[in-house]
Structure formats: C-alpha cells, structure tokens
C-alpha cells in the first residue's frame, strides 16, 4: 500500500489501528523526503533523529492504550520561519543560517503536544518575502507538478512537500498570500485564518499586523483537523483572539443551500483564460449545490495592493532591524567599528529582495514621508476593511482566483519585482482586512498545472470556508 499518498487523517487512523506504526510512517516519510529533496529542495533541514524519537514516544502511547489526538503520529513539516527548539530555524536567510531557537513557537508546541511528528523545516522565500520561492539563500524550490516551475511562495517548500507526499501536512505563514498562492500552484489546500486565530508567538516576524500562520494540507478535512490543534488563544501573543473556537471538522459535510457568493470583478480582470474558466466552472458547480452567486465590485482592491507593500515593508524594515550581527546568526568578518559591522553584516547577510523591502519600508516611515505613505496606507487599510464589511453584509463568502495564472517558470519573473508584486492582487486584501481565506484546487490548466480557487469569509468564518472548500474537493477539485 502507498501509505505516503494518504491524507493526514487517513494515515492517523492507520497508526491508531496499529496497521502501521508511527515510527514506520516517519521512516517512510523521511526516506521519500530525503530522496525527492535533491530535486524539489523543499526542506532546508530534515530532523530525522528528533522525528524518530517523537514517533517512538507516540508508538509507546499507542501500545499503552492512551487516548490520542486525531493526528497523533502523523509526520508534518514546518516552515523555516517558525521556531523549533534546538532545531535550525533560518528563515531561508544567510542572516540566520546557524540560528537554533532556545524555544518552540506556540504552534510547534501545540503540534508536539498533539503528538504530531515534526520531520523537517521547509524552504521558503527569504524572510517570507517573495511569491516564487526563488529568494531563498538555500536555493529555489521546484514545483513537484513540473520541476521547471516555481512552487509559489513564500511557503513554497511547505506546499511542495505536501504535494510531493514528502509530509502529510505542513505549516506555512501568510502575510499577503504566502500560504494560499503556493497551495494553488502545487495543487494542495492552504488556509490563512482570521488575524489573531493562530498565535504568532515564535513566528519570526515579517509584517506583524499581517502575518498569520496557517495549514497546508492534502484536503480541506486535514486543514480542519490541523486548525483544531493550532488555533487557540495564547496569552503570549497580545494580538491572539481570546474567543471560543469551533470544532472545525464538525460541519464538513453540511449543505451549502442558499450560500451567498460574491464575485468581485476586479479580481478576475487579470486572470488567464484557464484560471477564469476553472473558477467559473467551480462556481457553477456550487450554484448547482444551491449557492447564489452575484458579481460585485470592490474598487478598493487596487489600492489594497499598494497599501500592502507599504505596510508590510514598513513593518519588515523594523522587524528585521534586529539582525545586526550582535547577538546571533551571521556576523560579517573584518569590520572596523560597530557601524561597519552593521553595514557589512546586513549587506552580506540579507538577499536582494529583503534589502529592497527594507529600503522601501525605511523610506515609507521616514520623517517627511510618513504621512504620504505609511499614514495613507493605513487609511486605505481602513477603506479595504470597510469594503469587505459591506460585502459581507450581503454575502457569506467571496470567490476569486488566487493568482492570475498557474505556476510560472523558474527565473521568469525574478527580474521584474513590480510585476511579481502586482500579481499578489487577489491575495493581499484578506491580510489587509484580517479576514480568513482558503485556497483549494479546482482543476488544472491546459499546461496541466493546478489552479486554486480562493474563498474569503468574514472574520471567524474558517469553518464555513473549510466546508465549502470540502464541497469543491469532493466535486473532484483535486487534480
């Protein structure tokens, strides 16, 4: 039996039924991960020793008849910007090439407490800045569906290892689409929860007011089960919401009769023909299941993109200032004084894209420019939130493309950052507005590459998004 192609909940049941042990599954996963990593490059670190230790603990619990969590013993991968105690956490940057955090992130701890088995840390765009996973210090990740193509980014490694059965699920982070877009490119499910649903403690910040951790899974049901583990109030994160969370897996198969879906025309303007037709087909399928669909206009969408790049870069310029060579990570050699050490360390330690964003952000916050850029961007943010509120007064969800095309070729867009940025149009607004959004496969393009549909909901509507995504999945969305 091909255990590795099973979903997380399926393998969890087999482990529980003792059809296969957690150690055996872990060994299989790591074996495939190691083998495929030579081409895919999805992992920066594979932590075999720690994984096998954890897996054998799980097996011991099973042997002693303990009640286990629904995903106990399941091997998973963690994006390399989320802290894992004593395991390299590099943010795919030379700056943190040797950084081993002395603590676990909240999500790491939650998953460990739920007996999930961490098998490795996934590759990503450096400090999560990018949409193609080409800015990693550890080299680009390749799309398992076509290795000439990018996997998307910034959680490219997380999406690729799930798509290539190199892990049963993965954790990513999403600041402007970094979970959803790679999920779309690799043909897997990616959820960005409502801001504040998953603690950011231990997530190495890119843009604090936009960052949100989310699951990348083989199907929506797995996403629900992972959310059940990682979504909880955390007093260590002041922005963590202290509200009751539902059981996300409870209502997976409920019907969607009367569900009101909005299609903002701005999000369809740039979409390729393939993307357009797959999304339309999918929406029609939902209509047949009882949903009511209506085209709307969301004029704030265009401004959202500009606001996103100003706010995220401004926050990043401050968040990344601590990487100065003083305390941990990379320190340049041969400096003359402290300023020289800062300059050389940051000059050599950061890649081009990261430096570009730091420059943009520093500029936007500078005295004399603050009002024109940062303050204006915050006003736009308010406007975008308002537009979303207005849509959600009449509709339950917004459906749109995740990205205008399928996965593009490696190197194709790297030389034109502005075009790369412009393509984030469909994904950034969910972060700007703080609302949840999911990407779920809805078919392939003529290039045989996967296409995802994005569903956006009002705050705390993750369970609804997962349910609708599950409908699409059952309708044959996968592949």
């Amino acid at each position: 039996m091909d255990y590795l192609s099973l979903s997380a909940w399926e393998i969890a049941e087999k482990i529980k039924n003792k059809e296969i042990s957690a150690v055996e599954v872990t060994k299989l996963s790591i074996g495939r991960a190691k083998k495929l990593n030579e081409t895919i490059n999805g992992y920066i670190t594979i932590c075999e020793e720690e994984a096998l230790k954890k897996a054998s603990e799980v097996d011991a619990k099973i042997a002693s008849g303990e009640t286990l969590s629904p995903l106990a013993g399941v091997p998973y991968a963690m994006k390399d910007n989320i802290c894992t105690k004593n395991i390299l956490t590099t943010c795919a940057s030379k700056m943190l090439y040797n950084f081993k955090p002395p603590y676990d992130a909240f999500v790491t701890k939650r998953l460990s407490d739920a007996d999930c088995v961490l098998i490795g840390k996934t590759n990503m765009d450096e400090f999560a800045m990018g949409a193609s996973n080409e800015t990693s210090y550890f080299g680009p990740v390749r799309n398992p569906r076509n290795t000439d193509c990018v996997p998307g980014g910034s959680s490219g490694g997380s999406a690729a290892v799930v798509a290539a059965d190199m892990a049963f699920f993965a954790i990513g982070s999403d600041t402007g689409g970094s979970v959803r877009q790679p999920a779309s490119f690799c043909g897997v499910t990616g959820l960005k929860p409502t801001y504040g649903m998953v603690s950011r403690f231990g997530l190495i910040a890119f843009a604090s007011s936009l960052d949100q951790i989310g699951p990348i899974t083989k199907n929506p049901k797995d996403a629900a089960l992972v959310m059940n583990i990682i979504s909880a109030h955390d007093p260590m994160d002041s922005t963590s919401l202290d509200i009751k969370r539902p059981d996300y897996s409870e209502n997976l198969d409920g019907d969607i009769k009367g569900l009101k879906i909005a299609l903002p025309k701005e999000y369809f303007a740039a979409a390729s023909e393939d993307v357009l037709s797959r999304i339309k087909d999918t929406v029609s399928a939902l209509e047949r299941l009882g949903a009511v669909v209506e085209e709307v206009s969301l004029p704030a969408a265009d401004y959202a993109l500009a606001a996103y790049y100003i706010i995220s870069s401004a926050e990043a310029s401050s968040n990344l200032a601590r990487y100065d060579g003083v305390k941990y990570g990379f320190r340049a050699e041969n400096f003359t004084d402290i300023m020289d050490m800062y300059r050389k360390t940051r000059g050599e330690g950061f890649g081009k894209e990261v430096k570009r964003r730091i420059m943009i952000g520093t500029y936007a916050l500078s005295s004399g420019y603050y009002d024109a850029y940062y303050k204006k961007a915050l006003q736009v943010r308010g406007l975008v939130k308002k537009s979303y509120d207005e849509i959600f007064e009449k509709f339950d969800i917004i459906a749109s493309p995740v990205y205008s095309t399928t996965a593009f070729k490696l190197g194709e867009k790297l030389s034109d950052p502005v075009e790369m940025y412009a393509n984030d149009l469909c994904t950034v607004s969910a972060n700007i507005a703080g609302v949840p959004a999911i990407s779920v496969p809805c078919g392939n393009g003529s290039d045989n590459l996967p296409i995802g549909i994005q569903l956006t909901g009002k705050p705390f509507a993750e369970d609804l998004l997962i349910k609708v995504a599950n409908k699409i999945h059952s309708e044959g969305g996968r592949n």
């Binding site: 002395p102 992130a105 403690f201 231990g202 910040a205 002041s238 100065d324």
Partner: protein, 477 residues
C-alpha cells in the same frame, strides 16, 4: 546684554513593578550579567511583547500626582535606531498618544511659588548596558536592564535658573517616591535626565536655540551641567557667535558637556504604531481607583505640618522632602512625642550622627519607636538631655533598646531628693565663698553651684531638682 535662561527637563524614572514591562522577568537591579532576561526582553526572533498592566497603572498614578490629563485611548509605538544594547533595534515607547499629558507641579524657590508644566508622561522600555573594555578592545553587553519599565516625564521649558531646576527635580523625586512608583535610587540609575537649555535676551519672547544634554545620571550632575551650559552659551553669544542646535553628552568626570551629534546627524526614529500590541484603553472607573490610591503628597503634607502641627516652614519642608523621613517622623509622633521635639531630634542629632556614619534614613539601625522612647524618657525625667544624646549614639552603634542602654551605661537620672541633698551639702561646704556671694545678692552663683552638683553626681542628678533644692538650701542658711 542680559540673558534669560530657559530650561526644560526630561526625566526617565524606572518603575518599581515586580516584573518587566513586556515579559515576566523579575524587575530587579543588579544580578549576574545576563541572568534577568528571556527571549522576549532580549528580542529573540519570534518573540512577542505582552504589556504589564501594572506599568500603565504606575504611569497613570504619576500622571494624576502631577495633575495630568489621562489619555483614555492610547497606544504604543516603535522608536527605531541601531545600538548594540537595544536588542530589537527599536524601543517600544509612545509617540503621539502619551498616557498622560498637560500637567503641572508647583515648586517654591526663594519663597516664590511657581508652576512647572508637565508636557507629557509616557511609558517605554529601558535598554541594556554596554560594558566597554572589560575585555580589552571589546564591548560586552548586559541585557538585564532590557525591558525594565520606564516613564519619561517631559517638562515644559518653564524653568529659568539652575535653582528652579534643582527644586523641580527634588519635588519630582519626592512625588515619585511618595506614590511608590519608583525607588528613585540615583546610584542605581533609576532616575536619569536629559536637560534642554537655551538663552534669550531678557525681554525677548521667542526662545533661543537650545541644546540637549544627555546622560545626566545625578541631580547634582544636572545642575552642574545646566550651569556649565549657561556659561558656555553665554560666552558664545557675548562673542557674537550663534548657538548650534545639537545634542551634547554630560561628562561628570571632567565636569563638562561635549558635543554628541549635530542637528543634521539627528536620528530619524521612524516612529510607527507597535503592531504587536493592542491599543491601551483606560476607563474612568479605573482612573478613579488609581486616584483614590494616591497618598498625601509632599506639598499637601508640608502645609498640614505647618497648619496643624504648628511646625516652622523650614522643618515642614525638611521632614516632607522624602516619604521615608515623613513616615519616620509621623511614627515618632504616633508613639506620643510632640511634633517640635520629634522634629528637633530627627533634624538635629539623628541626621548629624547619621551623616557622620554615612547612613541614610533607609539604613538607620533603629526604629522610630526606639527614638520616641528616648525622647519620652527625657520628659519622664528618667534621663537628662545630655544623657539622651549618649543613648542615641549608643543606639547607632548597638541597635539596643534605649532602656537597656540607659541601664547598661547607668544613665538614669537621680531624682531622689535626699541623695541630691547629700551632694548639695558637700558642694556648699566645699564652696563657702559662693555661699557668701549668694547671701550678698549674687544670684548667678546658683548656676555655678548647680554645675558643681551635676558634676559630683556624674551628670545623673535631675538638673531641675538640683536647681530647686540648691535655692531652698541657700535660702535656709
């Protein structure tokens, strides 16, 4: 031309909360290097701050004590700059919405009362410390102080002399101490100030160009720094020069301020709202609760000492300058001692002996009750004034109970009339010429004879009794 000095002061006060401002590390001075810190206060990647609400309460308390308006919807901001002792490369502070604003405190200089405006009070985190050349050619870092909560108290440019500044700082310190939000330990750096000084021709309305002086860690340093800066600026102006707007650093060792950076080199701190923390929202009820917890403040207490206890203005000022002193004084009174004797003893012999021994009110080796006992024993006629001073001296050394000391040193006054009469008889016999003088109307020999009796009794005889009995004996002769 005559110049008027304009001074504004920013005071950074470390708050004495149990834990630090954004993590649960103990907020304690000293300790082994890098032991009072954690991933949060050292800004490790992925760590997040959580605001200690006590810090907000303490700041509001200071604000109310300084007659400020409290900002009900406030927030925190990041102040970005690179320095090795600032591990996140930004300090979490407050920019445009400080917790408290538009207050004032009153000071009295040379008998004249004036108000010094408080522009704002905001909360922020302290940075660590750089240790230069402990290892030759290297700088080491101690992050223990990172995240220690601070309030920055910014005054209006309302001071006109170094004496104003001195009085302002003393008053400010007294208030902070009274309300218990800061230890105000200068030697531990829990109060630090930046001083802004400018001069303008007398009568001119517009302010002159100011300089800011940083790194002033003592009040006396601040005063010296102000005086130095006034002199420096005056010399420049009198020689037809212009003052550069700049930041200077006070060097206490050489007693001079030296240029740190010019206006052009000034930092652009790129303030923006701290996205990791939620806005601070304060209710009216909460403000009232804090207001009700504020004890009697120094200037109110001083007025009460004058009006109700009948103490002179000087005594009242001295006794209320610090809360420890006022508490000590009030405790002595609570034990049944009158205000004036209590004040005299504290300001006189206690402080004299305390200073000789380099002690402070915090390190006195005895309690207020023990001092009260000494004063009461004088009133009861158990010991003389002279003996009381001996008892106090001994108490400074041994911390023993006054009664034990009186017993051990045999200082008990002799009140027994027959014993005293016996001594008087001896003395009169030994000084016939004095007795003769008395008979001839020279009353002043009484003092001499009392002195002789006191000496013969080794100071133990009750002087009043001796005085009376001598007059009785002489008149019977």
């Amino acid at each position: 031309m005559r110049y008027e000095t304009v001074i504004g002061i920013e005071v950074h006060a470390e708050l004495s909360t149990e834990t630090k401002i954004y993590c649960s590390c103990k907020n304690k001075f000293g300790g082994e290097i890098n032991t009072h810190c954690c991933p949060v206060c050292t800004g490790m990647p992925g760590s997040l701050p959580v605001l200690n609400e006590k810090v907000v309460d303490y700041a509001i308390k200071a604000g109310i004590a300084m007659n400020c308006e409290i900002t009900k919807n406030s927030k925190q901001d990041r102040k970005n700059y690179f320095y090795p002792d600032l591990p996140k490369a930004y300090q979490i502070s407050q920019f445009d919405l400080p917790l408290c604003h538009d207050g004032k405190i009153d000071i009295v200089v040379d008998g004249v009362r004036k108000s010094i405006g408080i522009t704002r009070i905001h909360i922020e985190e302290d940075a660590g410390k750089s240790i230069h050349d402990a290892v030759e050619g290297k700088t080491l870092l101690d992050y223990n102080r990172c995240g220690v909560p601070l309030i920055e108290i910014v005054s209006e440019p309302d001071m006109r002399s170094s004496a104003d500044a001195r009085e302002y700082l003393d008053t400010l310190k007294a208030i902070l101490e009274y309300i218990g939000v800061s230890d105000c330990k200068m030697q531990e750096g829990s109060l630090r100030c930046d001083v802004n000084v400018s001069l303008r021709p007398e009568g001119q309305k517009e302010f002159g160009v100011r300089t800011e002086m940083k790194n002033v860690n003592t009040f006396s340093g601040a005063i010296k720094g102000i005086e130095f800066e006034i002199k420096r600026q005056k010399e420049i102006l009198e020689n037809g020069g212009i003052i550069e707007q700049e930041t200077r650093r006070w060097d206490d060792a050489i007693g001079e301020s030296v240029p740190l950076r010019s206006k052009e080199e000034a930092h652009d701190y790129r303030y923006f709202p701290e996205p990791d923390l939620m806005p601070i929202v304060i209710s009216d009820e909460h403000i009232k609760e804090i207001k009700d917890s504020i004890p009697e403040l120094p200037h109110v207490k001083k007025q009460r000492y004058i009006n109700e206890l009948g103490l002179p203005e000087y005594d009242s000022g001295q006794l209320t300058q610090s809360k420890v002193v006022a508490d000590f004084f009030e405790e002595v009174m609570r034990c049944g001692v009158e205000a004036k004797p209590a004040s005299n003893w504290i300001m006189g012999d206690v402080w004299g002996m305390m200073n000789e021994r380099y002690l402070t009110m915090e390190t006195l080796p005895f309690t207020a009750q023990m001092l009260a006992k000494i004063i009461k024993r004088i009133g009861e006629g158990v010991i003389s004034n002279t003996a009381a001073k001996q008892v106090l001296e001994s108490m400074f050394e041994t911390s023993k109970d006054p009664d034990v000391i009186i017993e051990e040193l045999g200082l008990k006054q002799v009140n027994d009339e027959s014993a005293i009469l016996a001594i008087i008889d001896e003395v009169l016999k030994a000084n016939p010429s004095s007795v003769e003088d008395y008979k001839n109307g020279k009353d002043r020999v009484v003092g001499f004879l009392v002195g002789q009796v006191m000496r013969a009794s080794k100071g133990k005889a009750n002087p009043q009794t001796v005085n009376q009995l001598i007059i009785d004996s002489l008149s019977k002769l």
